[in-house]
Symmetry: C2
DNA sequence: TACCTAAAAGGACATTTGTCCTCCTTGAAA
DNA sequence: TTTCAAGGAGGACAAATGTCCTTTTAGGTA
């Protein structure tokens, strides 16, 4: 549920430590909006520590959470290739520490560092792999099944992440989430 | 709705034309299952001509269509980086012509051809960009709004793609699709 | 302690969507 | 022409989910 990429995290750390690497460290408080939908930014972030949410909001203010990002996950990277605007907002949930790579640095690394290139390629492929089944699963199974699945994947999710965010992640209202949770509590002692 | 990537299509064509390129042309009939979910394959396909659907099916046989793929779109590429199994099945809708690149060739191109590398990078990023809003939009808007949106994007979609596939694309049942279409016909002359 | 605010829980009802059928249409095959 | 099968359309009802509230809980602050 909270996605990570340890391999990339380790590698970026080693790049950062190099002389003149142009990779900066940045820190954020909880609940800071770090990037906002439909804008342009000049750098890519890679999480060193903490958890963030990546979400799309519509004109009615509804949020739909795409992913929870943990260590080693990057954001702001989709806009580096073309001059597009961002599709998601990213907001820290806990205190968040990132590496920030200016676009120029990111491009230079892609062009000159084959290992970096391959790791980014993999990271992109994994984002696709992850997104695909998530939404279809949520469509074709009852909410309760989705919750059981989340609980197995990440047992403490109800402690770390607010109910509202969980609901937005599954794509339902908090009311429906509550109903499902109550049902599950009555049926079993798993929750 | 039917995704394409003209830039990549053009470039692959030029690569194919090179001496000893190791890129093969393959042809398929309509309704052929070209790759099946949860398996391994040794090559990446890139569509020269025709339309295919990429879908996930669950144990109850429900299909959830991820994308309709047109010229220049690739499939089977997510598994090239790690030794994962496929997450989607791909089935031709019309007669389909592809370029087939063995994994070894694909890797070699990524490593030695910067332009190819960048085009693939972009293609991956665009798949992510495309997937993200699609599912959230479908959650937060009524079916009718989704249909109007599709119609604007691709007016002849009802002719080319079967009702069942459209329903599976939106993530609803054919019954609900019919209901929504009927409503729309009564309300306006757009449909 | 008392007060305030935001998150969480849940009642009552409306709406949407799914399920399970049946019927109709159309085009290919006998 | 008749037959058959598959896709499309839609009625009737059931189930899931959303909307709009009110109430409860918990944590921070005066």
């Amino acid at each position: 549920m909270i996605r990570t990429n340890p391999e990339l995290a380790t590698y970026i750390q080693s790049l950062w430590a190099l002389e003149g690497s142009q990779i900066l460290k940045e820190d954020f408080d909880p609940k800071e909006v770090i990037i906002e939908q439909d804008r342009r930014y000049g750098k890519v972030h890679l999480i060193r520590e903490g958890i963030a949410k990546c979400y799309i909001s519509d004109e009615n203010g509804k949020e739909f959470i795409q992913e929870f990002l943990g260590e080693g996950m990057e954001f702001g990277e989709l806009e580096v290739f073309d001059n597009y605007t961002t599709i998601c907002s990213v907001e820290s949930i806990t205190a968040l520490k990132t590496y920030a790579l200016p676009h120029s640095t990111y491009h230079k690394l892609l062009d000159t560092d084959p290992k970096f290139n391959k790791l980014i390629m993999k990271a992109l492929a994994n984002k696709i792999r992850f997104k695909a089944p998530r939404h279809s699963y949520q469509h074709s199974y009852p909410i309760e099944d989705n919750l059981i699945r989340l609980k197995k994947l990440f047992p403490e999710f109800t402690e770390v992440i607010s109910k509202k965010d969980i609901a937005n992640y599954i794509g339902i209202t908090p009311r429906s989430l509550n109903r499902a949770l109550k049902e599950l509590k009555e049926k079993s002692d798993f929750f």
